[in-house]
Symmetry: C2
Subunit: 249 residues, 2 copies
DNA sequence: CTAGAACCGTGTACAACGTACACCCTGTGT
DNA sequence: ACACAGGGTGTACGTTGTACACGGTTCTAG
């Protein structure tokens, strides 16, 4: 148990020690991670099998296990490698900082939608993810907020970006799996439209008939502006209401 | 293809036709869906196998296929059944309405965290999910918003709730899989704390030392209040800036 | 300079998954 | 009475992660 967890920590935070003996390795940890990211980018997280990664490297599945303890740890490494591609939030006014952070994460999710399909909570955090988050905290560090308020503010932005990202990622995956674009998919749904009757779905039919679904606003841009507006209200208010968790599961 | 999609629509929107001939069925579509939800609630979405569901019903795996076309469609049915457990948003002031909607969805996610691990975008929407969303649109229908603005406002709330829900769901799943509570997990991470040095992670060590991570604010309550504040700024402003998508993937 | 340890990659094998298929049994409409 | 529609079972296949034993390669200790 303990050794397992310590091993995972070392795996992410310390560079792999290179051996002094044995034949020269054709593979390496970074090459495996790189290849795995490429596979996930190209064909989605479901296509990421050990056999497939090995194949793109010209080796067999079991060869990967010399460089990576298992698939779960490979995912850890992939996640942190992708975080490493982002820019840390620079110092500056809080709103610009949070916006920068949000855009970086959003760009990351767009480039690697599979990131959102990986469970993140208990996954071991790596150094890149941590430093990026640290820089985001720094963006709101000089507003006189309590420490827990700093965390809450950044977390709120993260949750929003995660939310938009997830629906985007789902869309990408669905398009890849079915080979049908979002529009074509919904167009082919005559059997569904039959159930769109004004008595059952009054608002939806109204929005539909007035073309509201055809000229949608940008989900990310719209939502981000609102979230930052809301945080501004909080940050600029004199007395800030503290919200403590009561039964937070 | 076409018949496939039409079949999925009928599966969700029309009650299953009951047969006139043949032996009395021990199972039924609703019993299968019910059992599947119970399994997912108890042991997570990964434990939801056809064999396992059948077992809890006292049957074999293949028997399920008489009542459900396949696992994917079973998931569709589970999702819509859970939506059916929520209250539709009542009429009233917009802010109370959106708050009600957010709390309903949040409660739904807390009761069934696996909902957030299912891909939602291309999943066939069922009648319950649709009517709930319709009622949410209705909450902001009388503010003089353009149709696409109505959609954007509700979508923003949804994205936030999805975001909080996801981290909550991840936490629940991790606790179940490892049998270790969130606190114990992080406590056992000495090897990780060694890397928490002020030069690498200045903000995090500062927040940590001042105990900010130990008295966190309620993520849902805090974030929801900010998001609604931000939407209020938008709704009450005279000229609303329209944000159109440019290259939305 | 040589023996052996350390290391790299391979091949085989297993359990668990969704589900296609062939089968037998049960009950109703003609 | 009988055909047949429908319910449930047993077997089997392909795919997944990975444990294990093995053979080849290179550096280090004696």
């Amino acid at each position: 148990m303990k050794s397992d967890r310590d091993r995972s920590v070392r795996l992410l935070w310390e560079p792999p020690a290179e051996p002094t003996r044995g034949p020269k390795a054709a593979l390496s940890q970074s090459r495996v991670v790189e290849a795995a990211i490429k596979v996930a980018d190209a064909d989605g997280i479901d296509a990421l099998t050990m056999r497939r990664v090995a194949e793109t490297l010209g080796n067999t599945a079991m060869s990967l296990y010399r460089h990576v303890p298992g698939k779960s740890e490979l995912l850890d490494l992939m996640v942190d490698a992708v975080w490493g591609e982002t820019e840390p939030t620079p110092r500056g006014p809080w709103r610009a900082g949070l916006e920068f952070y949000a855009r970086q994460v959003w760009a990351m999710y767009r480039a690697h939608p599979w990131m959102l399909q990986l469970t993140t909570s208990r996954r071991m955090p790596g150094p890149h993810a941590m430093t990026r988050q640290d820089a985001a905290y720094a963006a709101v560090s000089e507003l006189g907020l309590a420490p827990e308020e700093i965390v809450a503010v950044v977390t709120t932005v993260s949750h929003f970006v995660d939310g938009v990202g997830r629906t985007m990622a789902d869309r990408v995956q669905a398009e890849r799996e079915t080979g049908v674009s979002e529009e074509d998919w919904w167009d082919g749904r005559e059997a569904l439209w039959e159930h769109f009757t004004p008595d059952r779905l009054p608002m939806m039919t109204h929005i539909w008939n007035s073309g509201g679904f055809e000229r949608l606003l940008d989900e990310f841009e719209f939502g981000l502006a609102r979230v930052l507006d809301g945080l501004a209200v909080f940050i600029e208010s004199e007395e800030r209401p503290l919200v403590r968790p009561q039964t937070c599961l």
